[in-house]
């Protein structure tokens, strides 16, 4: 079931005018920001399907940029996010794509600064609810309903077990887990949804494990 909580239906509290095109877009932007871990210096934002056709009317552009600035769906600063981005040195470019996506409300966000880049594809499935379908070229499924860990690592034996051991030590139960890699022995990604909230200390401990490149925590 895609929707698990009554507050997916009654809610979110948000700045109008569209839950999918404004609130959902803000959430996609905010996940990108949270995964990147800091405010980026530049952002290329690609709109597909209905997003491409109507983003101006729905404020999808200001909402995604608001998300990149770490604004929540009900933050009135969303309305002036383009000016705020300019003031804070975040250069934004929008692209209307012709390609037909699997979901009508699809956005691709490519952000970065001098220290790194991140590319993410998100879909807004209705009522403000989103799914992140791709991260740095890896396909993934994040319900956004449970705390989640995204762990970039090198594809070596024992890495998954060492991560699971740390989680077990802190009595954290894994509800859903996916592992994907681009090529044998190269960069890989673990997507782990858990039932308990994850302390920053646990993230630090995970980061120190061998073969781990980056650990990002996403909280519902």
């Amino acid at each position: 079931m895609k929707y698990k909580s009554v507050f997916d239906i009654i809610g979110p509290i948000m700045i109008g005018p569209s839950s999918s095109h404004t609130a959902g877009a803000a959430r996609i932007g905010r996940v990108a920001r949270s995964l990147f871990g800091r405010q980026p210096k530049w952002a290329h934002i690609f709109f597909y399907g209905s997003f491409a056709q109507t983003y101006k009317g729905h404020g999808t552009d200001v909402a995604i940029v608001g998300g990149l600035l770490d604004f929540d769906t009900f933050d009135e600063r969303i309305k002036s996010s383009l000016q705020i981005a300019k003031q804070e040195g975040l250069a934004v470019t929008f692209y209307e794509e012709e390609a037909v996506p699997n979901h009508p409300n699809t956005a691709k966000i490519h952000i970065g600064d001098e220290n790194g880049e991140l590319e993410l594809v998100g879909i807004s499935i209705g009522g403000g609810k989103i799914e992140i379908t791709e991260l740095n070229g890896f396909e993934l499924k994040l319900s956004g309903h449970h705390p989640a860990l995204l762990i970039m690592h090198n594809d070596r034996y024992g890495t998954i077990a060492s991560v699971a051991n740390v989680l077990a030590k802190y009595a954290i139960n894994i509800g859903h887990m996916e592992v994907s890699r681009k090529e044998k022995g190269k960069e890989a990604l673990m997507t782990i949804e858990v039932d308990q909230s994850i302390d920053d200390a646990i993230v630090k401990e995970l980061e120190q494990l061998p073969h781990i490149i980056q650990v990002t925590k996403i909280v519902d």
Binding site: F7, I10, G16, S19, S20, G127
Partner: protein, 292 residues
């Protein structure tokens, strides 16, 4: 966890509890949050709805100038007392319009189930309070009841205009409101389901064709009519009228209609009212260029 309306009604009737209570218990189970916490969160949504209605009734205008001020016109008209339909219905309509006018003006609203359809549920709720005199708790419960029906639609069909057309947004909201009205008025869980079925049946096929891609025309007035439809459907169900097609099958039909609806009529601003000469002219005027 209930997967459809039949299971929802069965859970409520076998335990002799309200649909709102079924929803609250499930929420406790799924999220692990306490009843108080969940109730407080819904109460906050109710506050936002109340403030949006108040703000809209005081008069707002959107950035494009396409919408705003109609809630005020209706309230003035009701005060003159020479209306044709009925005071409660018109009050619901004006409060639904108020909410969506605030939404169009990029004000703060609570998506119910979406922003474009945010007016129907609060519009009907705040209209019947005078007649039914609910407690604050019952008003919060109204939202849980509406949420329970919306939950089924969202999981079995869609609440996204881009995926299912306006029937998925205002249609869903209308069904949710009709069901919640029945429960608040003292109807049974099955009567609530009948109201949802009757209301949604009359929203089937409704396309999403926003002029200039804005959530304004025809969205604000679709919420108005959704509120009126919900009120009448609730009265019909309370009168004992049943839908020949069960609620779950109506939802299934809505999903299939959405799947076969052309993309031009699903929130792309390429068909329907958006593609009329006036719709195109408004888009050109607002954005300074003509949209294709």
């Amino acid at each position: 966890m209930f997967r459809n309306v039949a299971e929802l009604v069965e859970l409520a009737e076998s335990q002799q509890i309200k649909i709102a209570e079924v929803m609250i218990r499930q929420e406790i189970e799924v999220t692990g949050k306490s009843r108080e916490e969940i109730f407080a969160q819904m109460d906050k949504n109710l506050q936002v709805m109340e403030q949006a209605v108040m703000r809209g009734l005081a008069g707002v205008s959107s950035h494009s100038g396409l919408t705003g001020g109609d809630a005020v016109l209706l309230q003035n008209y009701i005060r003159q007392g020479r209306f044709l339909s009925g005071e409660t219905i018109l009050d619901a309509v004006s409060k639904a319009v108020a909410t969506n006018e605030v939404n169009a003006a990029m004000g703060i609203i609570c998506a119910t189930p979406t922003a474009g359809s945010a007016g129907v549920v609060p519009g009907t709720l705040f209209a019947v309070t005078e007649k039914l005199q609910p407690t604050r708790e019952q008003m919060v419960e109204f939202l849980f009841t509406a949420g329970a029906f919306g939950f089924v639609v969202a999981n079995n069909a869609s609440i996204s205009g881009a995926a299912g057309g306006c029937q998925a947004e205002v249609g869903s909201a209308t069904g949710m409101a009709a069901a919640a009205l029945v429960e608040m008025a003292g109807g049974t869980p099955s009567q609530a389901a009948e109201a949802m079925a009757i209301a949604l049946k009359n929203m089937l096929g409704l396309v999403c064709d926003p002029v200039a891609g804005l959530v304004e025309v025809p969205c604000v007035k679709r919420n108005a009519m959704g509120a009126a439809n919900a009120m009448v459907a609730a009265d019909m169900a309370l009168a004992g009228i049943k839908s020949r097609i069960p609620c779950d099958e109506v939802i299934e039909a809505m999903y299939r209609i959405g799947e076969t609806m052309p993309t031009a009529l699903k929130e792309t601003a390429q068909g329907g009212l958006a593609a009329t000469p006036t719709g195109r002219a408004l888009a050109a005027k607002i954005f300074g260029v003509s949209q294709t």
